[in-house]
C-alpha cells in the first residue's frame, strides 16, 4: 500500500472520528450547569432577566437543543465552527489565531522530548547497570513522577524570578517591534520554559521506552550478526540497534499525542501562552459552547495529525509496512 493511500485512509477514518467527537462533546457540554448568557451577564456585574434573555436570543440558545445541535453539526460539515459568544468573533478565526502558538509549543515539546529521550535512553542503555545508567534512569523517574504544573511553577521561580534567564510567560515581548533574527530569538526565549515543562514528562516516557527497547533489541540475533561482521559497537548501536529500537518509541509517541495536547492546557495556563489549550479552559468556564467544541475538534484533529505523522515516520523507518 502506498504512503499516500495510507494517509488518505487514515484521514477518511479520522473524519468519522471527529464527527463522533463533535456529537459526544456537544451533548456533554450542554449538560454542564449554567450557560454562556448567564456567565456573561454575571461578568457584567448586573443584569436582569430581560438582558439575559436577550443574550440567549442573540446566541440562539433559546432554541430547542436538537435545533441547536442540527445547526451546529451542519455548520461544522461546511467548516463553519460557529460564533464565539464570549470573544465575539467566529470560532474558526479565533482558533486559527491561537493555533500557531499551540502548534509551536506542542511540536517543540514533542521534538525536544523525543530527541532528548532517545539520546538519553541510548546513553542509559549503553551504560546498563553502571552509575551513568542509574543516574539517567533516576532522573527520568523523577520527571515521570513530578506533577507538570509543579515543575512549571518551580521553573518560573527559578529561571525567571531568581535567575532572570527566561521570561516567565507570554508569547513574545509585547510591543518590542522585533524583526528577523531578533524576533526568532525572542520567541525562542519565551518558548523555552513552557516547552521544557511540557516536554520533561514525555522526555522521561520516551527515555524509559528507548532504554528498554534498546536493551531488548540488543539481544536480537541480527545484532549478533552485526558483531560477527566485525562492526564497531558504535556502528552497531547507530545503524542496527537504534533504528529498530525506535519503532516502539514512535508507536508510543503516537499513542501519547492525546496526552501531549491535553498537557498543553495546563502549561498554557501557567505560562500565559496564547494557545488553544488555554482557550479551552477559558471557554469551559465561560460556557462558550461553540469555542469549546471548536477547540475539542481542533485538538482532536491535532492528535490525529500527530498519529498520522508518527505513522509516516514509522513507515519511513520500517520498510515492512
Amino acid at each position: 500500500m502506498t504512503l499516500a493511500a495510507a494517509i488518505f485512509g487514515r484521514a477518511a477514518k479520522a473524519l468519522i472520528t471527529l464527527l463522533l467527537i463533535v456529537i459526544l462533546n456537544f451533548f456533554l457540554i450542554h449538560a454542564a450547569p449554567g450557560d454562556p448568557a448567564m456567565v456573561m451577564a454575571g461578568e457584567a456585574g448586573a443584569a436582569d432577566e430581560q438582558f439575559i434573555q436577550q443574550l440567549r436570543e442573540q446566541f440562539g440558545l433559546d432554541q430547542p437543543l436538537y435545533v441547536q445541535f442540527w445547526n451546529y453539526v451542519s455548520g461544522v460539515l461546511q467548516l463553519d465552527l460557529g460564533y464565539s459568544y464570549r470573544q465575539q468573533m467566529p470560532v474558526l478565526d479565533l482558533i486559527l489565531d491561537r493555533l500557531p502558538a499551540t502548534l509551536l509549543l506542542t511540536l517543540t515539546a514533542f521534538g525536544m522530548s523525543l530527541l532528548l529521550g532517545v539520546v538519553f535512553g541510548m546513553a542509559a542503555a549503553a551504560r546498563q547497570g553502571k552509575w551513568g545508567d542509574s543516574a539517567i534512569t533516576s532522573m527520568a523517574l523523577l520527571f515521570y513522577a513530578t506533577p507538570l504544573f509543579w515543575v512549571a511553577l518551580m521553573a518560573v521561580v527559578l529561571f525567571s524570578v531568581k535567575l532572570g534567564w527566561f521570561p516567565a510567560f507570554g508569547y513574545g515581548t509585547v510591543g518590542a517591534d522585533l524583526s528577523g533574527f531578533e524576533m526568532v530569538l525572542d520567541r525562542l526565549r519565551h518558548l523555552f520554559l513552557p516547552a521544557l515543562t511540557l516536554g520533561l514528562f514525555f522526555m522521561a516516557v520516551y527515555l524509559r521506552m528507548t532504554r528498554s527497547s534498546v536493551l531488548e533489541v540488543s539481544q536480537m540475533d541480527f545484532v549478533k550478526t552485526a558483531r560477527s561482521k566485525g562492526l564497531t559497537e558504535g556502528t552497531i548501536r547507530r545503524r542496527h540497534i537504534l533504528r529498530n529500537a525506535l519503532l516502539p518509541v514512535v508507536t508510543l509517541a503516537g499513542l501519547q499525542a492525546g496526552q501531549l495536547v491535553g498537557g498543553a492546557v495546563l502549561t498554557e495556563t501557567v505560562f500565559a501562552w496564547p494557545g488553544i489549550g488555554r482557550l479551552m479552559f477559558e471557554s469551559l468556564t465561560a460556557r462558550d459552547y461553540n469555542t469549546l467544541l471548536g477547540v475539542f475538534l481542533v485538538s482532536a484533529a491535532m492528535v490525529i495529525a500527530f498519529n498520522i505523522i508518527t505513522d509516516i515516520v514509522y513507515r519511513l523507518i520500517d520498510p515492512r509496512i
Partner: protein, 531 residues
Amino acid sequence: MEPVLSIRNLAISLPPGADRDYAVQNVEFDLNAGEILCVVGESGSGKSMTANALMGLLPDQVAVAQGSAIFEGRDLLALPDTERRKLRGDRIGMIFQEPMTALNPLMRIGDQITEVFEAHNRHTPTERREKALALIQEVGLPDPEKIIRAYPFQLSGGQRQRAMIAMALALDPAILIADEPTTALDVTTQAQILDLIKTIQQRHGMAVMFITHDFGVVAEIADRVIVMRYGDIVEQGSADDVLTTPQHAYTQALLAAIPTDSVPTPVPVTSAPVLEVRDLRKTFVTSGGMFKPKRSVTAIDGVSFTIARGEVLGIVGESGSGKSTVGRAIVRLVEADSGEVILDGQDMNSLTAAELRSARRRVQMIFQDPYASLNPRKKILHALSEGPIVQGVPKAQAYARARELLEIVELDAGAADRYPHEFSGGQRQRIGIARALAMDPDLIIADEAVSALDVSIQAQVLDLLRDLQKRLNLSLMFITHDMRVAAQLCDRVAVMQHGKLVEIGPVSEVFLTPKADYTRSLLAAVPGTDW
C-alpha cells in the same frame, strides 16, 4: 595436516544460579584447513557456546574461564576486544540458525553485505557494491540487482540464509563458523544450503566449523565429527568412524535414537474408517481495509482421505503445505470453507457450537510446543481433569483417571500436583499425551508432536506413542515434516504440497516407490539418506 585453529583446555563459566558451573570444560580440538568439522550434540551440550567463545560473542554473564584458541599464531581468547573485532567478519565468518531474525529487518540486503567491507575499511563504495553483487551471485541468489535492494522480509528463509552466507564470505575468511544454519529450514531448502556450504568451502578452501544436532546433516557434510554432551567432548574422529563405529555409549545411544529408514511392513487396513475427510477446502483471506487489497492463501485445496480405526496415518509436507491446517480443520480449530469431516458417520462441520462442544471430545490433539501447550498457571491435575469434568465425568473419577494416566505415560502420579514449569520438554509432551487420552477420544491428531524435542527424547516419546497406539488400539493422525519419523511410526503416509494431497499410500509404497515427483524430491533431500 596443519590446523588453522587449535583449541586447548577451553572452559567457559556460567553465571551463578545456572544448572552447572561451566558451559564447557576441557574442550580440546583442532580445526584443519579445508575440512568441515561437525560439532554435534543435543541442546545444552555447549556446542554453540564454544563457537560463540571463539567469535568473542559470548553473552554478558558468560566468560571464558581458561584455555587457548590459537589462530594464525595468536591466541584468540587472549586478544584485546579491538583486535578480535578486526578478525570477525574478516578472518572468521559466522552464520546463524534463524534466518528470520539474523538479518536486520530494516536494512537492505545490499547494505548489510557492503557494511562488512566498510567495517574493515576495504574498497570504495562502488567497488563494495560490485563485490556485493558478485557475492549474491556466488551464493546462488537470483537477480542480484533486485536482491541487493531488497529487504529481508521480501526473501524466503532459504534466500535469507544464502544472503547470510554471502555476508560471511565477503572477506574470504579462513574459518566459517556455521551455527545450526539449516535447522530452521525445510528439508529441500536444507539440502540446497548444505550443498552451497560444501561447494563454497571447496572453492575457497576454508575450514568450516559446522554445529548441528542432526546426524543426518553430519553424514551429509562432515569430514570430521566432535560429539559433545553436557559441556564435554565425548568423542571425536572422522565422520565415517563416528557414524559407523561409535565408541562412546552416548554416541551410540544418539545414533540408535535416530529413526531408521527401515520401513515397517505395511499392515493392510481392514477395519472401518473412524474418520473420513471429503474434499476439504480452506482459503485464508487477510481482511483488507478500505484501501488495503485483500490477500488470500489457499491452505487446503480439496483434500480427501480416510483413517481406519487403529491406524496411524502420517501427513508429511514442508512448511506451508497445509498439513497442520488440515489437522486443525478436522477438530474445527479452523473453520473449513467447504468439505465434510465425517467422524463415525457424523459430519463435524455441520455441528452447531453447542453440539460441537460435546463432540469435540472425540478428536483430541497433541501439540508441538511443549512450553505453550500447558497453561502455566494451572496444575497438571487441572489440565488432565478439566476436560472430562466439563464433559460430565464426576470430579473424583476424573482426578483418579488423571493420576492413572500419568502413570500410563510413564510419569509419577505425584506429578498431578505440580505446575508445568517444573517439567522438562519431554515430560510435558507426555503430559500432553495424557491429556489427549483423558478425553477417551476416537482419534488423536499429533501435530509435530516430537519436532521440538532432542533426538534422544524424541525417541522415547515416539516409543511411548507407538506403544500406546498398539496397546489402546488408537487411531492416530501424525503430522510431521520429518520423513524419518513418519516412516517409523505410520501405517500409511499422505504427502502434502501447496494445500493438495500429492500422494497417499502405505509407507513402504510411498517411501520406496514414490509416484509423485514431489515425494521423490522430498525423499532425496533428507540428509544422510545414503548412510
